[in-house]
Amino acid sequence: MKRFWWFLIPLLAFAVLVFFLARGLTKDPGYVPSPLVGKPAPTFDLPQLQNPKLTFAPEDLKGRVWLLNVWASWCVSCRAEHPVLIDFARSHPDIPLIGLDYKDQRPDALNWLKQHGNPYVLSAFDADGRVGIDYGVYGVPETYVIDQAGVIRYKHVGPLTPEVVQTLIDPLLKGLTP
């Protein structure tokens, strides 16, 4: 009888292996955990998309909770995300939604906003993608939640969906704003 238990060990080991492999299958291999969450948002000073004479720096919003959304007119998923952002801007008038127009052409980007509506308070224009690199952007769209102290609290890679806003971003914002 004792011998019987010995044979269970490989079986158990196999079960553990299957568990981990199966779990691995449910994960998104494209997801890269960001080391920036919990760190101060990298600083920059970029010209604004609509008014190149004005600039935007994250420090301008110190003391406020805000969202930084990386987008581009050439980005197909951004189009899918767009209605969600429009909704978000409408239902969160107290949370500034800032765009980071990443590696884009100014006329294309302006045209895109005209065509689809502009959910952003303003968009910073990152023509060569250097600010994108500082933020660890590897796939547009990406969204960052930044708190009053200027610390990144959450990073979402890929298009925002109503579910993500409801289950992840809204509770976080509720916790951050008194």
Partner: protein, 335 residues
């Protein structure tokens, strides 16, 4: 001593900016930066196409990141600082070799724990089997009996088998590692020393032999040879892209330098004349023409060329200073 051999490295450094004075210097011109960039990005993951290295990927992001790494190299950052720069933005994920820390212990130690567990299990199993064969032969189950019996007959073999396995497994592992692994990486001193330019250049040469149509690659290799003071090898590399050279006076200048450096003065003179016909206002070519005249002992001619080149570069720049030094040298030879 050959003027070209003596001033070769200086020419390269000075002339790459001479030739492109006024326009942004193409980044791919400095072969040492390129070889370091290659060595660094070889160990980094492209985040868009995750099974490719940053060096191999053609994605936009990879190109941006390579440009960033290039800037950091040119800013004089060490490999370690550059890797830290990327890790602080993209996480350990960009590394193909994950660092050893609490979250990666399982990854690094797991296989060894499994191996040790397997060996212990094997020992326990074999021991028990041989002991059982002696003591409780009668209550062994009939199915297992057949397995157990041979062990009883040749009990010592069981022990030898264990010892043999214990020897073979680590030995086999070590042999396989030496064959396919990278034992040099085990030595931290050597691993830290960074890429050896000789090795990088040899690797580039091998890659080009496999893909000889890569004109830019040959150009890079030839310049690397020039910097490493191997003009004869540089000539060989340039010979692979003669059609390209014929169209490009800057390349012709490099070719002339390689020819002169390797001692082929007649060839150098033929090509410098071609280059002067193609672009009479290129300071690097004029400067090299002066060098050839100097080499022939025709110092007044050399001075004439160099003074002409001096007018074409920015006054008070490093290049201007370098040309003036050469003019002074030529003048002292006349006296």
């Amino acid at each position: 001593m050959n003027w070209f051999v003596k001033t070769c490295a200086v020419i390269i450094v000075a002339c790459s900016s001479l030739a492109y004075a006024g326009e942004a210097q193409p980044l791919a011109q400095d072969p040492l930066v390129e070889t370091r960039l290659n060595a660094i990005s070889e160990n980094l993951r492209c985040l868009v196409c995750q099974n490719e290295t940053l060096a191999a990927s053609r994605s936009d992001l990879a190109e941006d990141l390579r440009r960033e790494v290039r800037h950091l190299i040119e800013a004089g950052k060490s490999d370690k600082e550059i890797i830290e720069f990327l890790v602080s933005r993209y996480g350990d994920y960009v590394l193909y070799n994950p660092p050893f820390k609490t979250t990666t212990v399982l990854l690094w130690v797991g296989p060894f724990v499994l191996l040790a567990g397997g060996i212990i299990g094997l020992i326990v199993f074999l021991r028990r089997r041989s002991r059982q064969g002696l003591v409780d032969e009668e209550d062994a189950e009939p199915v297992l009996e057949t397995v157990v019996v041979p062990a009883v007959d040749k009990r010592p073999t069981g022990r030898w088998l264990v010892l043999l396995m214990l020897a073979i497994i680590p030995l086999g592992g070590a042999l396989v590692y030496l064959k396919v692994g990278n034992p040099a990486a085990l030595d931290p001193a050597r691993a830290k020393a960074g890429p050896d330019p000789e090795v990088m250049v040899a690797r580039l040469a091998a890659k080009l032999e496999a893909n000889p149509n890569d004109a830019q690659g040959w150009q890079l290799l030839a310049r690397a040879y020039l910097v490493m003071n191997r003009p004869a090898d540089a000539v060989k590399a340039y010979n692979r892209i003669l059609p390209e050279i014929k169209k490009n006076p800057d390349l012709m200048g490099d070719y002339v330098e390689a020819l002169a450096g390797s001692g082929d003065m007649a060839g150098a003179r033929t090509w410098i004349n071609k280059a002067l016909q193609l672009d009479a206002k290129n300071p690097k070519i004029i400067f090299l023409a002066g060098g050839l005249a100097f080499e022939q002992g025709n110092f007044p001619e050399a001075i004439r060329y160099w003074e002409k080149a001096l007018k074409l570069v920015e006054p008070n720049s490093k290049e201007a200073q370098f040309i003036q030094e050469n003019i002074a040298e030529a003048k002292s030879r006349i006296k």
